[in-house]
Symmetry: C2
């Protein structure tokens, strides 16, 4: 982890880009830029909340442990995303962990200052509220998927949403180098099962694989796997 005071463009974060200038100025006084290498932990489940992180560049996974060996990746945070905003609730403890999966630059904002801002800046808290409403929507959809969708559908869903979030590079592959381990944790399954499912998807010409890269070929048929057939 490396500190620096320059290079952070808060405009990228939607919470800041359209909000009152006072907040931007104020946050510039209180922010602290932090860098994390791949694999470094930003914060951990159970830790006391110290502040909130605005992702400037790079990627982090937001995950939750089960036992000592299992985890579930809740979401990925990229440019403009916010990390640790769950600290706002009543109990000031992070409910999830965040770990860099690509070299990460974030702006750290002290929680006290952030809370104070929210209480005076209506635009800010309104936007955060809307953001949360959307995350809740996603979260509830995922809960249903976890409960009723077979692994194949969950992998398809995982690939589709990764493609949407990270885009495709010139080869048409998902623009994120993700270990199979992490893909499995994101699809809420195991390494081996995800492996086999991807082979299946390859044989059905829905995706192709070279190395860690996965290219989505038939988005439509993939999407069909994610419906309950209503």
């Amino acid at each position: 982890m490396n500190k620096s005071q320059k290079g952070c463009d808060l405009e990228k974060c939607f919470l800041c880009s359209n909000t009152v200038p006072e907040w931007r100025e104020a946050i510039n006084l209180h922010k602290q830029n932090l860098r994390f290498k791949k694999g470094e932990v930003i914060f951990s489940e159970g830790q006391a909340v110290t502040g909130i992180y605005f992702v400037y560049s790079g990627t982090a996974k937001v995950h939750k442990k089960w036992g000592n060996y299992k985890e579930l990746i809740i979401r990925f945070a990229t440019d403009g995303s916010i990390l640790g905003h769950r600290g706002l609730g009543s109990k000031m403890v992070y409910g999830v962990s965040a770990t860099a999966v690509e070299p990460l630059v974030v702006c750290f904002v002290d929680i006290k200052f952030f809370e104070a801002s929210l209480k005076t800046n209506n635009d800010l808290s309104y936007k955060l509220m809307v953001l949360f409403a959307e995350e809740l929507d996603i979260s509830e959809r995922k809960m249903r998927d976890l409960a009723h969708m077979p692994v194949k559908g969950r992998v398809a869903q995982a690939l589709l949403s990764l493609g949407e979030q990270f885009g495709l590079n010139k080869d048409g592959c998902i623009n994120l180098e993700l270990s199979r381990q992490d893909l499995a944790a994101f699809a809420a399954s195991t390494y081996e099962t995800v492996f086999r499912v991807i082979i299946e998807l390859t044989k059905e010409d829905l995706v192709t694989v070279n190395g860690k890269q996965i290219r989505i070929i038939d988005r439509k048929k993939l999407a069909e796997l994610t419906t309950g057939g209503f």
Copy 2:
């Protein structure tokens, strides 16, 4: 469904109880009291958002369909809860359904008015934001449980949280008459499996059953079933 203009005590709703008087007065002009019988639908997944509902009394289940026959109950809404607040996001469509499981009285507030209030009343949007943060926390924990916890643990978790939310009556039973079907949907399992699990729990002296009533005997051991053994 039955309309009436009196008998709704918004003080019960934490969003109103401590907020500025202007909002309480304004909402009293815009609210509409609605009654729903057991089994009646308040709103359905996919419908356009019309407004937001404050639960005054009774109970509703918030659920999501999968295919034509499966569903997942996300949560239960009781006195003081809010329904339909997910409509605040960008796409104005309810992502879940809400159905009364006990005779329900709600205050309906038009979404336009509610949005306008949020944009001018900072206290209100701040509180809603905090509420969402807490719900997100719960939602993410549930996601992990769904992914990694076996059915027995999920049933235990379901019973514990029902006990917490609805309290216990004089017999020590969970203070909610819930069909086994609904309990299964809440534990994200099937009728038969939940049935068998409850028999197991009975034999292990963690709960007792008479009819639809379930009494929690050993809260501590139940809670043990809900951990991954860290």
